[in-house]
Amino acid sequence: MGLKEFVTRRIIQIVVLYFAIATMLFFLFRAAPGDPLAAYIGTGFTQEQAAQIRATFGLDQPVHVQYWKYMTNLVTFNFGLSYITGDPVWGIIQDRIWNTLVLMGTSVILAYLIGVPIGAYLAWNRGTKRERFGVVFALISRSAPVFWTGLLGIWLFSFKLGWLPAGSMSQPGVTYTSKLAQFTSPDFLRHLILPALVQAFYFYSLPALLMRNSMLEVMNEDFVDFAELKGISDFSVMLKHAARNALLPIVTAFAVAAGFAVGGSVVLETVFAWPGLGREMVRAVISNDYPVAQATFLILAGLVLIANFLADLAYGYLDPRITYD
């Protein structure tokens, strides 16, 4: 089958999966102890707001009607109003989503930029002390919880050295013309470095160890020996033949990395007080702001699925043997 069919089939799979997750969430919230009505209608709501909520979610109606409303709301991005602030939830999400994406995107890219070459290097130096050390260090980085390394990073670079801000995304009081302007400003970048590096430090071991394993397999292949026979330099062989082939499985691992990164945003953003979806979700859950909690969770889940899909596409593109079956 060709590209088009593959894409459509994957999209359908993702959509089905997404609705399954949404359904699960729906029943989860209802199965939980506590009053479902109170879950949506905050005590501080006005009559109109309360009525609006009732209409949106069909809260007095039987379950299947509620479910139908829930699903249609989902499709139209109507997530109701925040229990705490009364603001439309979709607005809150729109405000936060790019903050999370930029932070997570940067972290994962950094993790890959650091991890993949390290992995190739470790494989090429198989059996040496350097390799042993590299593997152990990668394990260490994976064992140190992000909130701990984050705290240490803040203490060192902000409190002790004063080089970087102690958290949040930008200086209070500064406004920007657009999100893009904000993300490219030096102030933003100063705020971005530490959390991105901390997360990348936690993550790099995944691409590094995967790349190492993949390289080791590839290095045994005949075509690598053949390339050496042709007189190509060691470095070129490692890069053009071994690494290029070894990258294929790394790409799918990117999806896993992205999935965990998105999930990890709840912790990272809390440590650094970064105004993203993760932090918002934590706040919402703590304050029982169900609409926000539900919505942020669903958006996060959606992001993971999209990342998986993109990884599938990329893999197909990189490996000429794949014919999208």
Partner: protein, 336 residues
């Protein structure tokens, strides 16, 4: 003019235990000639080929002897110096040629890579040359746009052969280039290789376990067993006038694609364990003619000029040859 000279070469693989795969082999190759190295699997012929090419695996090492190529001693060259010779002067078609192509690059790019590493040719020139090479081996030149998985095994083999010719090297080492292919393609490719060699004038070392291939394509040959040389000389001379029991046994065992149809008798028994090498003639335990003196180390005899045999001749060669023609000699022999 002698292109390649191998003198008393010893190659050992380190490991648990160490194995000496090549145990004192010497021969020469003249320019324009094809030399066949024939023997069963495990006799050391691939190791020999790899040693000459400088492509021994990490645990393999030339422990003594020398290899002189075009006047230069290449026995212990560093990797960097080897690379100057590789492909430009000496190329190799290995056993697993079909897997030698990188699956993620097109054929044309892989040929280009070989060329541009050693010559200063533009992309366009490489493209033209690649097409030429494909035609040389009888493949459709448009196929250089393909990826390896789009070509059949036989076609990939031919691509490798084409690549080995890309820089018109002085020496091509072919290690079982057709073993993995079916008989009909084998024929075609061997024929093609021979033609090309005549046309282009390269010298070749053909490593094979199939003595009939040697008969067809080689000018001179070397018979190996247990890491040692058993017989060597001109192909016609050896085929008509073989002296060594092992050579005679091989001739019995392989069908000649051209010759008359006959029953095959393989040589019973199996090659020696080289981690614990025998002291004398390695073939003694399987040889129907062996005698106590065969436990002494071998020395070279030259019954006819240019034709060398390493055998203790426990009974006169005449008798060996006569009796080898009979199947019972091989089937009913005593294992010592």
């Amino acid at each position: 003019m002698t292109l390649l000279e191998v003198n008393d070469l010893h190659v050992t693989y380190s490991g648990d235990p160490d194995v000496e795969a090549v145990r004192g082999v010497s021969f020469t190759l003249e320019k324009g000639e094809t030399l066949g190295i024939v023997g069963e699997s495990g006799c050391g012929k691939t190791t020999l080929a790899q040693a000459i090419m400088g492509a021994l695996p990490d645990n393999g090492e030339i422990t003594s002897g020398e290899i002189i190529f075009d006047g230069q001693d290449i026995t212990h060259l560093s990797n960097r110096e080897r690379r100057k010779i590789r492909w430009e002067k000496m190329s190799m078609i290995s056993q697993s040629a079909m897997n030698s192509l990188d699956p993620v690059y097109r054929v044309k790019d892989q040929i280009k890579e070989a060329i541009q590493e050693h010559r200063d040719m533009s992309d366009k020139e490489c493209y033209e040359r690649s097409r030429e090479l494909m035609e040389l081996v009888g493949l459709d030149p448009d196929r250089i746009e393909d990826y390896p998985h789009q070509l059949s095994g036989g076609m990939r083999q031919r691509v490798i052969i084409a690549m080995s010719l890309a820089l018109d090297p002085d020496l091509i080492i072919a290690d079982e280039p057709t073993t993995a292919l079916d008989v009909i393609i084998q024929e075609q490719i061997l024929y093609r290789i021979k033609e090309l060699q005549r046309e282009l004038g390269n010298s070749m070392v053909m490593v094979t376990h199939d003595i009939s291939v040697v008969a067809e394509t080689c000018d001179s040959m070397v018979v190996m067993y247990g890491g040692e040389l058993m017989e060597s000389g001109n192909v016609d001379e050896i085929f008509n006038n073989a002296h060594h029991p092992y050579t005679l046994g091989l001739q019995n065992a392989f069908p000649s694609v051209e010759g008359e149809k006959r029953d095959l008798t393989s040589i019973p028994g199996s090659p020696p364990d080289l981690s614990n090498p025998p002291s004398g003639c390695p073939f003694a335990t399987r040889c129907p003619f062996s005698a106590p003196e065969c436990e002494e180390p071998l020395s070279t005899v030259e019954p006819v000029e240019g034709h060398q045999v390493r055998c203790h001749e426990p009974i006169p060669f005449e008798q060996i040859r006569n009796r080898s023609g009979k199947d019972e000699t091989w089937l009913s022999q005593n294992q010592h």
